[in-house]
């Protein structure tokens, strides 16, 4: 009894200290002129250090404090409550940041409508407005083109690179764009797509190549003249130019997963086929591809989800103008430019509905695997 009392005291003390330190530390962060005497660079670095320490240490301190409280409780309560110490913090954050707002978004899409309009007003707007129809068309085009092309290029490259010596080096080059942000990729490709009027030297490699190659076509009389193309600013070619950037970013992912899957195909199968006189091409189509069907599907859906949510790439390059907008870009514009939160919520719900089939498949897989139960 006495020992228990000391434990409780100790737990309370630890919790108190953790709370005080975090409170004080966070107070430091919210004072803008904390290090006013120092040079701006030094003060910025000091602030960064405090912020990082508080964020990183704080989360551990909270768990530690929670554990001391739970272990100080009477035996049975400890056992019952302990699992919740482990899972509740994560569930709480997910609840606050995903589940509660998701419910709120769905509700707001029906309630946040102009005076005197019905609950479905936002949805009827979304599916009748001509600009929205172009946006949906763009999303559908992205969904039809980008995942397929990324998977095919990734698969072909994975299949080819499997057979050369410098495999991992070659893969790294294709893989590298995965580390680049959409904004960074947008900058990179602005220089690829750069446009100068005809007659001036082109600084973008694509137009430079186009003018050079087009010169031959003119000489041979196939086309009458060649003009540099403003790839990002001419409808509808700009949509495809943007998709190319996305494909450039996604192929690395497809390649890595498919390459691992190809290596998982039993060599007995391919070697036996080779002995029976099958060509490499036949082996690839008849044995490798059927064996990695599962991986192909996963890669396809993963890229499809990424494509559905595509935002930064378009927002930074064309801002969604010139008929290039998609749902996520329009949603951002509705939130910040037009302050029309009800309509923004409606667009978010449409995005959610689009991924529900994939969610169902995931959950069905989960049930089949039976979570450790």
């Amino acid at each position: 009894m006495n020992r228990k009392g000391i434990e409780v005291l100790r737990a309370l003390l630890i919790v108190g200290v953790v709370a005080a330190v975090l409170w004080y530390g966070y107070g430091l962060l919210t004072q803008p002129d904390l290090f006013a005497g120092l040079s701006p660079t030094v003060s910025k670095l000091l602030q960064a250090l405090i912020a990082i320490v508080i964020g990183v240490i704080g989360i551990w301190a909270l768990f530690y404090a929670g554990n001391t409280i739970i272990e100080a409780l009477p035996g049975k309560a400890t056992d019952v409550l302990r699992p919740y110490l482990f899972v509740v913090p994560a569930l709480l954050v997910v609840g606050i940041y995903l589940i509660y707002p998701a419910v709120g978004t769905v509700a707001q899409s029906f309630t946040d409508v102009p005076e005197g309009e019905g609950a479905l007003y936002n949805y009827s707007q979304a599916f009748t407005d001509p600009e929205m129809l172009i946006i949906f068309r763009n999303n559908v085009m992205w969904l039809l083109i980008v995942p397929i092309v990324s998977v095919v290029v990734g698969l072909v490259f994975a299949g080819l690179v499997d057979r050369i010596k410098l495999e991992s080096l070659a893969k790294s080059f294709v893989f590298l764009p995965l580390a680049i942000s959409f904004v960074g990729a947008a900058v990179i490709w602005q220089f690829v797509y750069a446009w100068k009027p005809a007659g001036q030297p082109q600084i973008g490699i694509l137009n430079s190549f186009w003018v050079w190659a087009g010169g031959f076509l003119v000489d041979w009389g196939i086309i009458s003249e060649v003009e540099p193309i403003p790839w990002l600013f001419e409808t509808p070619i700009n949509n495809f130019a943007l998709m190319v950037i996305m494909i450039w970013l996604q192929v690395g992912f497809a390649m890595v997963v498919l390459s691992a899957a190809i290596k998982g195909v039993p060599t007995e199968l391919t070697e036996a086929a080779r002995i029976d006189g099958a060509t490499e091409r036949q082996i690839f189509y008849r044995i490798t591809i059927p064996s990695i069907k599962g991986a192909l599907l996963v890669v396809y859906t993963t890229i499809a989800i990424a494509v559905l949510k595509v935002f930064d790439l378009i927002f930074v390059t064309t801002g969604g103008n010139l008929d290039t907008s998609v749902i996520a870009v329009e949603m951002y514009q509705q939130m910040f430019r037009f302050r029309n939160l009800g309509f923004a919520a409606t667009l978010a719900v449409i995005l959610l509905v689009a991924v529900i089939p994939i969610m169902v498949v995931n959950l069905r897989n989960l049930r089949r695997q039976g979570i450790g139960a």
Binding site: V94, F253, V257
Partner: protein
Amino acid sequence: MTVVADKETAKEVTRSRRNRRGPNESNERVSWFVRISVVVIVIMWTIPTLGLFVNSFRPSSESSSTGWWTSLFNPFQTDWTIDNYVNVLTSGGMFDAFINSLIVTIPATVIPITLAAFAAYGFAWMRFKGRSLLFAIIVGLLVVPLQIALVPLLQIYQSTSLTGSFIGIWLAHTGFGLPLAVFLLYGFISQLPQDIFESAYIDGASPFTAFTKLVLPLSVPALASFAIFQFLWVWNDFLVAAVFLGTSSDVGVLTIELASIVGSRGEAFHLLTAAAFVSMVVPLIVFLSLQRYFVRGLLAGSVKG
């Protein structure tokens, strides 16, 4: 039986054939086509980044009048310069943005990993009410677009002045990253052998100690995989930062600053190339040095999902 035997013979045959004639014949036959295709794809995938990289070392008068490849072909007639980098780090907001990116990214990586590791351990090794339902919710959330959360959260943030605060964006990134984190770490932690826990408990360890002293050290590969994911995702994120953190130079991160240079067109445009590389250097280093873990995480996260 016969099939197995056939396979064995087949292997034998290949082996002996290989020994006799060196490397596999049919491979030798296609290899020029294969090699050229691989090289073509590698070049196509490298040229865009290479172009920006070369331009970032050319004076703006040159990079806006001639293509970057002209400098590559005439390296001695080019005024190679690092002025772009010096300018972008001293005059623009890129330095502050770089620090802000660090402030945002490091806790926004550590906090979700910590929460997720605890939760994954709880889901994998503890019995409690609602376990499978709660885990199913996490898995269901794996593919939910984060856009679904933006409108209500924005309203909450604006009314509580969390907008523009670092803790606000740490928690936002934590919430959006957690489902994947829990799922990935669960996959790993649930596969740990049961014996190690039993012997730890016999030695009198509490579950908390078993978690910090046993599970975490053993899970380093999985933790590293997710850490790289989350680090790259947060560092490269534009949307969450734009919505919850805003664009002021006190808190604006690299992607925001870079996007504002893209938008400005006129005065800062010559800094764009260097600015882009400043924003990319950390993820590229992380990525190249820890590629192995990243690939492992990619495979665990996608093949199962």
